[in-house]
C-alpha cells in the first residue's frame, strides 16, 4: 500500500523495526562486555542480543524489499 508517493507503509515499518533492533542489539553487545550490576531475570539468555538481531534483520529486509527505488520501479512497471 503506497502513501501516494513512493513510500510504502511497509518501508516505514521496516525503518522502525530496523532502528529499534540496531539500538537494542548494540546495547546487548555492550552488556555482554559490561554486565549490569542488577541484571534482569534470565539475563544469562541475553535476550537483547538475539531479539535486537531479529528485529534488525526484519527491518533491513522490509526496507530493502519496499525501498522507494524498488517501489518506483514497480509502479512504472505497472503503468
Amino acid at each position: 500500500m503506497k502513501a501516494g508517493g513512493s513510500l510504502s507503509i511497509w518501508f516505514f515499518t521496516g525503518l522502525c523495526l530496523g532502528v529499534n533492533g540496531a539500538l537494542i542489539f548494540a546495547r546487548g553487545l555492550y552488556e555482554l562486555v559490561h554486565p549490569p550490576p542488577e541484571p534482569v531475570v534470565l539475563f544469562e539468555l541475553h535476550a537483547n542480543v538475539w531479539w535486537g538481531a531479529i528485529l534488525l534483520i526484519l527491518g533491513i529486509t522490509y526496507c530493502l524489499h519496499f525501498s522507494p527505488a524498488r517501489e518506483r520501479k514497480r509502479m512504472s512497471g505497472n503503468s
Binding site: I9, T13, N20, E31
Partner: protein, 586 residues
Amino acid sequence: MNPALLLFDSNTLVHLSPVDLIIIIFYFALVLAIGLYLKEQANTGEDFFMAGREMTAWVAGLAFLSANLGSLELMGWAGNSYKYGILAAHWYWIGAIPAMLFLALVMMPFYHICKTHSVPGYLKLRFGEGAQAISSISFAFMTVLMSGINMYAMAVVMKVVLGWDIHFSIWVSAGTVAIYVALGGLRSAIFNEVLQFFLIWAGALLIPILGLIEAGGWSGLQAKIIQNLTELHVPNPGSYTHLWSTLGSFSANPMGINWVGIVFGLGAVISMGYWTTDFLVVQRVLSAKDLRSAKLAPIIGAAFKMMVPFIVILPGLLGLALLRDPHTGNLIRLVPADLAWSDAGQAQGLHSYDEVLPLMLARYCGPGLLGLGITALIAGFMSGMAGNVSAFTTVWTYDIYGTLINKNASDEAKVRMGRWVTVIGVVVSIVTAYFAKRAPSIMDYVQALFSFFIAPLFGTVILGMLWKRATPAGGWSGLLAGTLSSIGMYTWVKLDPSAVRYVALSLDAQDQAQNMFRALWCCLICVIVTVVVSYLTQPRPDSELKDLVYGLTRIPKAEHVTMFHSPVFWGVVVAVVFIILQIVFW
C-alpha cells in the same frame, strides 16, 4: 530543581536509560513524520474519511485489529487474566473470532456495496433518519468518552510505572494523535496503526517467551499457579487455567459466570455487536479497495486476534505464577486499582491488577528492550485513541453535521470540518480524562454505557440486513427499546444488588458476567420489539431496499481466484484453529 525534572518522579517501578528514551522519542518522531508525509493525500472527503477506499486486505486487516488493541485493552486484559485466569481469553476467542468471520463472510458485502461512510449511515439508508440519529449521537458520545478514559488510564499507569507526570503524558500523547490524524485523516490513522501493530508485538512478545522458559513450560506454569493460589487460600485454584471445564456452574470459576453467559451473552451478542457494528473497527474494513479485500481484512485480523492472548493473557497468568518479592521471597498479590493507587496503597507499595504487564516487562527487559516495551504500550494507547478520534470525526461530519446541521455541505467543507473536529474530539477527550480523574468509578459506568448501545445496535443492524420485512418504525423503536431496557436493568441492579439473581441468573455474577447477561436480554428485547412493530407497520417496497437487504442485493460474483486467495478458504482455516485452541485449553 530543574522544572523539567518535575515531570519525572524518581520513585518508580522502572527507570529508563538513555537508549530507552531514544527509542520512545524516535517513535514519536516517526508517527508525526508519517502524518506530515500523508497530508497531501487527504484532500477529498473520500481521502480524509475513508482513506480513498484503496487499502489492501493486509493493511485494512492489521488496522482493524490494531484499532482495538488500545493500552487499556493490553494492560486491562492482562490484569483481568491475573484476576480471572484463562477465562479472560474468551474475550479474544469466542468473544471475537466467530464475529469477525461473520463480518467478513456475511455482513461485509452489504456494507461494501451500499458504499456507506459509517454504520449510522447504513441505518439511515435502511431505517431512515430516526435510527441514524440515535446511533450516531450515542456513538459520538461514547467514542469521545472512551477515548478520554483510556487516556487517563494510560497516564496513571505511566505515572505509577515510569513516574511521568499525568498532565505530561496526557497532553504529549493526545497532541501527537491530534496532529497526525488531523493532517492525514483516516489514511494516516491506518498507516500508524499498522506500524503500531508491529511495535506492540515486537515490544510484548518477549515476555511470554521468557516467562514460559522461567516457569518450565505450560505444565510448569499450571503447577506454579495452583501452588501459589493454594498458598493464598484462593478457592478453585485449578479453574484459573481451564477455559471451558469450569463453566458448568456459576460458583466453580473466578468470574461467577456459566457457559450460557459466555456463549450467548459474549459470543452471540456483545462480540457480534462490537465487531460487526462498532464503527471504530468497521471503518478500517470499509477503507478496503475491493470486496475481496474487504472480506479478507477481518479474516486476517481474526488470525492475529487468536494469537493476542499470547502477549496479553499469558503475562497475566505468568504474574500469578512467578511474581514474588525479590527481597523476602513472598508472593506479590496484586489488588484492585482504586486500592493500589490510593495514598494508603502507594505507601504500602501495592500494585494493581493492571500493572501486571509492566511488572513482567520490568522483570525480563533491560535497557533497550524496556524502551521498546514502553513504546508498545504507548503505541497501543495511540492506535486506540486514533481509532476513536477518526471514527468520531467521520460520524460527526457525515451523520450529525451533514445530516442534521448542514445538509448541503460541500465535500471541501466536510474535509475542513473533519480536520477541526479531529482537534476538537481530542480536546474533549482530554477534558473527559480530567473528569475521569475526579471520579474513579466512572470507568464502570462507561463500560456499562458502552454495552447499552452496542448490544441492541447489533439486533437492529442484523435484522435490517437479513429481514426485508423490518420497517423503519420497527428498527427505530427496537433500537430505542433495547437501549432503554439495558439502562433499566443496570439501574435496577444498582438500586437493588440482589436483582443480579434475575438479571445475571446468579448472585455469584461479577461485573463482567452481569454485562454479558444484560447484553443478551436487551438484544432479545430489541429483536422482539423490531419484529412486532414491523408487523404492525407498512414495509418499504423492495425497490427501495435494493443493495441493503439479503435477497435484494446482487452480490458480485467472486473473481476467479486460487484457493489460497479465497476469503472462504482462510475463514475455514481460522475457524479450525479456533476450535483446536478451545479443545487444547478446555
